[in-house]
Subunit: 403 residues, 2 copies
């Protein structure tokens, strides 16, 4: 969707409320060709009833057939084309550990690694050092490194991975990777990719010099590489683009982070699915767009736990009456991508979606599931970017185009 096309159509006095309930990795696969998917197996009387009154289909957020990452898939749901709106790897890493990335920050993804006496990388993961060892090395570097005029943050992720952040005036993320992404090579010297990033590149080179000196007698992690330097993107804000006052409710950092990137108000982390609905109720009067994120469908999918994923979908179904009791004008129930437990991974399969609204034209679909959605009016492979404009129309928040 062209944001400039939507702008003049936004009604100023619109009041319709929209809930977007995203079950991460919702789409699934049957374990045998004649079997049912996780969603089809789950007993979901409430979602099935809504499906009878809703418009359904299956969406994809990146080109059809391609498997998206979580950040990209959520951008698609929020109406941002993930091919056009790129989030740098460093920013995704920072968001993933709930680092509060600000407008003057440049972030990168770091790996501790092992190098030989000539600086040639011999193990890109330093023997997968434990997370505690990563933590110790981050602390050591932070304590000893001195970079003039900027603040340095080094936050451990899992095992050998860490997040690198510089904070200061005049920084720019257009700096080349040091990570050659192969053993048998030396780390690259980072270079500015445009003139504005010269200061940042020099600070990174200095960080690399001092850091390697500090780590040289450590074992097995005696060096590190950095990649994906990036600052917070400066994109059109979700609320401005869609004329909404949005809020994000999620348990996990990555999803609150992506919501923050597009400028949503982000609430404190929820501790359970039920608490997420508590928060939806609490903030109902203050906002008109509610992004509610359910993580565990994806987690069970990644674990290959078919029954676990079915169980979570059933738990979510039991929460639906609490959402409907709030009287939303539009309720979207979907996923960001598929995570079939059969594959134990994200997949490219399109994602079952329902858009329930008081102004829907029901599709004669009898239940909420991948194959029933094939009969729906939204289409069997619609663009995730279509959802927001469509939701705005169903909520009677858009003027017509032309006379």
């Amino acid at each position: 969707m062209n944001f400039e096309l939507i702008k003049p159509l936004l009604k100023e006095d619109a009041k319709g409320k929209i809930v977007m309930l995203v079950m991460d990795g919702l789409g699934g696969l049957p374990l045998t060709p004649d079997g049912k998917t996780e969603l089809e197996t789950a007993k979901t009387p409430h979602m099935d009833q809504l499906a009878k009154e809703a418009e359904l289909g299956l969406h994809h957020s990146v080109p059809f057939g391609i498997t998206p990452g979580s950040g990209q898939a959520h951008l698609g749901l929020f109406g941002y084309d993930p091919i056009k709106y790129e989030i740098g790897r460093g920013v995704l890493s920072a968001l993933g550990i709930d680092f509060d990335l600000g407008p003057n920050d440049v972030a990168a993804r770091g790996n501790f690694c092992t190098v030989d006496e000539n600086g040639v990388i011999t193990d890109r993961r330093a023997g997968r050092i434990p997370t505690e060892e990563g933590q110790r090395l981050c602390n050591l570097l932070k304590e000893k490194i001195n970079l003039p005029g900027v603040e340095l943050f080094l936050e451990p992720e899992k095992e050998y991975r860490f997040v690198f952040v510089l904070r200061g005036e005049g920084l720019d993320g257009h700096v080349s990777d040091t990570d050659p992404q192969a053993v048998g090579k030396k780390a690259h010297v980072p270079e500015a990719l445009k003139p504005d990033a010269e200061k940042t590149a020099e600070l990174v080179r200095e960080f690399v010099r001092q850091g390697n000196e500090i780590l040289k007698s450590e074992h097995p992690a005696n060096s590190f590489v950095l990649r994906g330097f990036a600052g917070m993107p400066k994109w059109p804000k979700f609320n401005d683009v869609w004329g909404l006052n949005s809020v994000a409710i999620a348990m996990y950092p990555m999803y609150r982070g992506v919501a923050k990137v597009v400028g949503m108000t982000v609430l404190h982390p929820a501790e359970s699915m039920s608490q997420e609905i508590d928060m939806l109720e609490e903030y109902w009067d203050k906002h008109d767009f509610f992004f509610v994120h359910i993580k565990k469908t994806d987690s069970f999918g990644e674990d290959g736990n078919f029954d676990g994923k079915v169980g979570i979908i059933e738990e979510v179904d039991a929460l639906i009456p609490r959402i409907m009791a709030l009287d939303p004008d539009v309720l979207i129930i979907t996923g960001d991508h598929s995570t079939p437990s059969k594959l134990k991974a994200h997949s490219w399969h399109p994602i079952p979606t329902m858009l329930w609204s008081k102004n829907a034209r029901p599709d004669r679909v009898e239940s909420f599931g991948e194959r029933e959605c094939l009969k729906g009016s939204l289409g069997s492979r619609f663009d995730a970017n279509d959802l927001l404009p469509l939701a705005l129309s169903h909520a009677l928040r858009l003027e017509k185009f032309g006379a």
Copy 2:
């Protein structure tokens, strides 16, 4: 559709005749989730029989989820992308009152308004003066204003609205609005938006000067604002693009107007639906593309009259045998947009469409209705721009692309 792609494919000796029957605002909604739409409720034995033999689907003419105006929606049906082919507000207003806009004309939409002693707008609609008062003020201005070298037309629309037209050599519609579209502001001074429009801008400024002097002692409408200056667009002509000899049959000015904009031959206004079919019969041998427009489906939808809309659809169904008796090669039955009586307004819902032809691959659809169309081969949300090329192929008017 890329017009350049079609051009070399047009057969020179093609004879197939195409009828495009547009029921304005045809698409609807059920009044309850388990109910039927207007079209599904209507008893339409003739259209249902054609549906069994036809290809069906639901189209949209502007980006999915957006509600189109009538002009834009018809451009979509005629194969012109309404985002690319913009019709100025002034042109639409002129077409809407059947003003015979020519190639040397620049039109704008005018509103009579009330201003205070400083020229600040206090009521943008001058208290919604009656149409007769608008007529009197238009006559007064026409009589007294003197603009050298051009002809001036001022035609009342409803209440405070009027159409402003300048006719003369060397005019250009790229002139900025005088309408600030808010109370508490003075009207803007109109400016040329490109050098070619300097002469037109100066004529408009002179019109504004003289007009305000003439109206200053009137009450409550003592001034006016103008917006949407535009000339007739210079687009590729429908007949050239599609290799057709087209004719438009319609009761209402707007639809004859849009047909005129794309260069169709436009017949005199019909006085009834039955007379529209009389005209179709009368002109059958002289043309090979027939745009037949039915207005009342939209009017009843706008009024929220479900049963009235059902009744009109049934009346149209009763006329189908007369159309089929002419032995058309292709008959398209569709709407320009949806106007569900439930919403009393245009809507974004896709529009049920059938393309009947001797060369159709029937879809196993049993009747003509929104939900049956979901099963059709044209798709549940196809681009209105696809219809013309498809109709040409079904009429055997296109060569194949490539060898």
